[in-house]
Amino acid sequence: MRILLVEDETDLAQAVADHLRMAGHAVDCAATLDDAYAAARTVSYAMIVLDMRLPDGDGLKFLHDLRDRRDTTPVLIATARDRITERIAGLEAGADDYLVKPYDLDELLARVGAILRRTESDRAPERLFGSLRIEPSVRRATVDGDDVSLTRKEWAILDCLSRRPGQTFSKGELEDVVYGFGEEVESNAIEAHVSRLRAKLGKRAVETVHGFGYRMGQGR
């Protein structure tokens, strides 16, 4: 996978690049925003590791510009900006993950791997969870080869959970996925959809993270 590393601290950039290369990725380094814009225009990267404070500007602006151009290249922000408001601003601007310096190189590698797998599975024609097979392009879910009929809202929840296996989604986040803006949400609506999903796909298809939300499990 080809990764763009935007980092002005050369000693850090070199170590990170070496580590990513060791894991089998191809890495291009950009030490300024100008270089980053030029690189992103000419090459289609599998993902971008982005520092925020660069000599010629703010990495956040680069991210906004990227998303404004409808470029969905995954972005991992790796920065010294440690405030929660800065983290939220980065994620809301469209970053896929946020890592604060100093970080473990292995942690960075794990996050890069997780993002790449996620985008890969987004593009993959099917997602497999034990006996449960999900084909997003045709909105089809099968268990042991048998078609399961899902409502629009059940499908939205399953699609969201299966797109990012391992990640926990709060009820609020799932409500945002299922209901449009301004649409009235009944209390316990998400619980009801999840319990119907379990009835159709198997008890362990959706796991409860107690007190927090739900994440993808395995089919029957």
């Binding site: 070496d18 060791m22 929660i84 408001t85 604060v100 100093p102 473990d104 107690h210 007190g211 927090f212």
Partner: protein, 441 residues
């Protein structure tokens, strides 16, 4: 000093002053009055004596010629009056019945006034018959009359004093109103608001104080801005070199040959500890810079979700973490970074000081209280009260820096919330509980 105290003090002091002046006035009036009264009574005594002389001389003549009885007992115009009719040799030829009770002057007495222990006497000149009247006025009566008029002066003034106290109190409060306004203006200033106080319409003395305060606030504002700027820049300045060193060491561990891997790991561990210390020191700098209040409401549930993400991603922590969040948003007027630092520290602290494998529970309630509990051994009350001191480390501190709870406590106070630490957890015989009640909750 509160409004009540200052105006009451003024009212009391002014009333005491008025009272003292009034008393002085009463005493000097009384002295003048006494002098005038004496003069008047003396004159009256002299007139009475001179009127009496022919009367008594006449009575003596009548008695000598046998017209009137010798005894003078029935003639008694004024019981208390003392009179003597004396001849040139000082012999008493006629006297009033009340003479027995009086302290008489030595006779013969010269023409004029004389004061004895009980009376004031006046002796007339001798008349043609060779007699003089010594006429006495009792001092007791004079004193009584004098006291009566003195009390008549004093009483209304004593009654007026409390009224004066209330009037002066009211005047003082009205007069101190600009001071109250200034106090309210100062009370409004704080963390977020350091704009100058409007000095228009203020009395001269207060305008001078206001100018000084405004100057101080400008400097305070600059100092706080400087401190915040440092806390922001320091994040980059401190975190970046540690990040470089850590990344380089981790690469070295993989690439270096012939170097003792254990030594590299020791450097790595030291750098990781330093990285945690840098994080805490940055939080400390931010809390010292006055991070806390916010005019806007922020959803604590959303913020806590972001804070918990780090722990949920750590497999060693994720399985021990028991989370309970309300369904609704939990808005509170607190700075989001302040809340995140506070919550992060409470959670880190709970993991740091709990036995391996035991649960750490994090619960946010609808009313804005965050409760973090663990299964730590019970703490003594003395230890509990020391926990929020800077650099305090409990027994078995587990490698903490002694900053986490201090920072949480400082931020809690600055935000207007309340942090309560308890051990054991209520209803259990062990464990440690930290409850943060957000402002406005």
């Amino acid at each position: 000093m509160s409004r009540g105290r200052l105006s009451r003090r003024l009212a009391t002091l002014t009333s005491v002053g008025i009272g003292a002046i009034w008393l002085l006035a009463v005493f000097s009036t009384a002295l003048v009055l006494k002098y005038e009264q004496e003069e008047l009574l003396d004159l009256h005594l002299q007139e009475s004596a001179e009127l009496f002389l022919p009367v008594l001389t006449e009575r003596w003549r009548n008695r000598e010629s046998g017209i009137e009885p010798r005894s003078d007992s029935h003639y008694n115009p004024e019981e208390a009056l003392v009179y003597l009719l004396v001849d040139r040799s000082g012999r008493i030829v006629l006297q009033s019945p009340s003479v027995a009770d009086a302290d008489l002057p030595a006779l013969p007495m010269r023409h004029g006034y004389l004061s004895t222990a009980t009376h004031v006497f006046y002796a007339t000149e001798f008349n043609r018959e060779g007699f003089s009247v010594v006429y006495g006025d009792p001092k007791v009566e004079r004193r009584d009359a004098y006291m009566e008029s003195f009390v008549a002066f004093l009483l209304p003034i004593l009654a007026l004093l409390p009224i004066a106290y209330f009037i002066v109190g009211w005047v003082a409060r009205a007069g101190l109103e600009p001071l109250n306004r200034l106090r309210d203006e100062i009370a409004e200033r704080g963390e977020g608001q350091l704009d100058p106080i409007d000095a228009r319409g203020q009395p001269e003395e207060l305008a001078a104080i206001t100018a000084k305060i405004n100057g101080l606030m400008v400097r305070l504002g600059q100092a706080l801005a400087g401190e915040r700027a440092f806390a922001t820049n320091a994040a980059h300045e401190l975190r970046t070199p540690v990040a470089v060193a850590l990344a380089q060491v981790q690469r070295l561990k993989i690439e270096a040959e012939g170097v003792d891997p254990e030594r590299i790991e020791r450097i790595e561990a030291a750098l990781q500890k330093m990285s945690r210390l840098v994080a805490r020191l940055l939080e400390l700098a931010r809390s010292d810079a006055g991070l806390g209040v916010s005019a806007e409401q922020h959803d604590l549930k959303k913020l806590l979700g972001h804070v918990l993400e780090d722990s949920l991603r750590d497999p060693a922590r994720a399985e021990r973490l028991k989370i309970s969040l309300p369904d609704q948003t939990v808005p509170a007027p607190i700075d989001p970074d302040a809340f995140a630092i506070l919550a992060g520290n409470l959670i880190d602290n709970a993991f740091q000081h709990s036995p391996a494998g035991t649960d750490v529970s994090v619960a946010l309630s609808r009313d804005g209280s965050l409760r973090v509990t663990n299964d730590a051994p019970r703490l003594e009350d003395r230890e509990l009260s020391g926990l929020t001191r800077r650099l305090y480390r409990a027994r078995n501190s587990g490698g903490g820096f002694g900053l986490g709870l201090h920072i949480a406590d400082a931020i809690s106070r600055q935000s207007g919330g309340k942090l309560t630490l308890r051990s054991p957890v209520p209803g259990r015989d062990s464990g440690f509980e930290a409850v943060f009640k957000a402002p406005g909750a």
